[in-house]
């Protein structure tokens, strides 16, 4: 009885967020097969641990498990990308002045996608959760396990970077971009 109940309540509260889970995993791992594995593993973990789920935000709860599973996967499969990110060292100007970056300076969809993909994982996560999933600062903070102040600074830095990569070459000087 209990088994059936818990399966049903899990299906109701968590499974509707499979698309969001896959979207986050896909952006973080940048790989379809890996994202599918991560989501499946995350769902099983969530199911096993559903007694620990209190509250009403099944989406944030599932996404928190997905992002942790993703970062574990990245540490194992993409070492170097998740090495704790030094925000001071990675000032926008230092990395992006490559010819490759210059080629991407266009407004087209592919450029936007690549610009997001090339963000450090923590920034990418914040952008995807905010812009594509529409989460509030508070929800992003809960998913990523960081304070709201950190959510804000990550978003601000991620966006300044994106603006720099995506700005057309002919554009005016760098007004309004914080460095």
């Amino acid at each position: 009885m209990r088994d059936e109940d818990s399966t049903r309540s899990f299906e109701r509260s968590v499974l509707p967020h499979l698309d969001a889970a896959y979207n986050l995993a896909r952006w973080l791992t940048r790989d379809d097969a890996a994202a599918q594995d991560v989501v499946q593993e995350s769902c099983l973990r969530a199911f096993q641990f559903q007694d620990g789920f209190r509250g009403d935000d099944g989406r944030a709860w599932l996404l928190a498990i997905v992002r942790n599973t993703c970062f574990t996967w990245m540490q194992q499969n993409r070492p170097g990308q998740t090495a704790s990110f030094d925000e001071e060292l990675h000032s926008p100007a230092s990395e992006l002045a490559s010819p490759q970056a210059a080629l991407q300076r266009s407004e087209d969809r592919e450029a936007v996608r690549r610009a997001v993909e090339e963000l450090p994982a923590e920034y990418r996560e914040a952008i995807v959760l905010r812009e594509l999933e529409g989460l509030s600062y508070k929800q992003i903070a809960a998913v990523a396990g960081i304070p709201i102040g950190t959510v804000m600074s990550r978003l601000a830095r991620a966006r300044s970077r994106l603006q720099q990569v995506l700005r057309p070459p002919a554009a005016s000087p760098r007004t309004g971009v914080r460095t």
Partner: protein
């Protein structure tokens, strides 16, 4: 509000996370400041470009089916099904995998209550500074601050002024931690603001009924100290260094 304030609020403004007072201030500022106005426009253009250009991936149907199928097969809680008899090897290894998964899931999904609380406290501290909303009742007079909480809380937080010792009481504020209202007493040490959160021990928020000695934490560069006594739990957070914060706690405890 100057341009540097506006830069800090730009993203919150674009994201609709700014309260109406600050929203109005930003709008007013950008009307006559070309630099901030174009910065705001750039942010909005970027958002449009992201929404239009960055694909939102949908879970493949096959993945959904696989997950639903594996849920149907599963019989929680796994831990109670001890493997006996034949097939022990397979069943045991499944149980180990399941328990491991549970443990990992637990770490991923539910950090220790202390961790959650500390995160909330640091967030509350940062928010109070960012929104320029340190105090609801700005007063250095403890006879003003303490009664202000009457009727707003179901307990009476002690408001002690330590101005003579270098920690000036600057006011009080209502805040919200772990689903309950708490008192925030605000102090200043030089240029450094301190938020002292107070709530009744036991009940919903972490900390049992018994008195607890001071415990120190560091999170995101902020220094925290927490203790409980006389039925109340205290947690102070600031960007002071450890020694200065210890001094504050010692003074407070000796006066309390």
């Amino acid at each position: 509000m100057n341009c540097s304030d506006i830069a800090d609020w730009l993203d919150a403004c674009v994201d609709g996370e700014l309260d109406s007072v600050h929203g109005v201030e930003v709008e007013r500022h950008v009307q006559h400041c070309e630099r901030c106005s174009s910065a705001l426009q750039e942010r909005r253009a970027l958002r449009d470009a992201l929404v239009a250009g960055a694909p939102v991936f949908r879970a493949p149907a096959a993945l959904r089916e696989r997950i639903e199928a594996s849920l149907r097969e599963r019989r929680p809680p796994v831990g109670f099904r001890l493997p006996f008899g034949l097939g022990v090897g397979l069943a045991a290894s499944l149980a180990v995998v399941a328990l491991l998964g549970w443990t990992l899931g637990r770490q991923a999904a539910a950090p220790a209550p202390d961790e959650v609380l500390i995160g909330e406290i640091v967030s509350a501290h940062v928010r109070s500074l960012m929104a320029d909303h340190l105090t609801d009742v700005p007063s250095s007079d403890r006879h003003v601050v303490r009664p202000w909480f009457n009727g707003k809380l179901d307990f009476s937080p002690p408001a002690v002024d330590l101005a003579a010792q270098g920690f000036a009481l600057v006011g009080g504020r209502l805040d919200y931690l772990q689903d309950r209202s708490v008192a925030a007493l605000v102090y200043r040490h030089g240029e450094h603001p301190l938020n002292l959160f107070v709530w009744p021990s036991g009940g919903g928020t972490a900390g049992g009924g018994a008195d607890q000695p001071v415990r120190e934490f560091v999170r995101d560069g902020y220094q925290l100290s927490a203790w409980s006594g006389a039925g109340l739990t205290f947690c102070v957070v600031s960007d002071l260094n450890r020694e200065e914060l210890r001094e504050f706690v010692r003074l407070l405890q000796s006066q309390g």
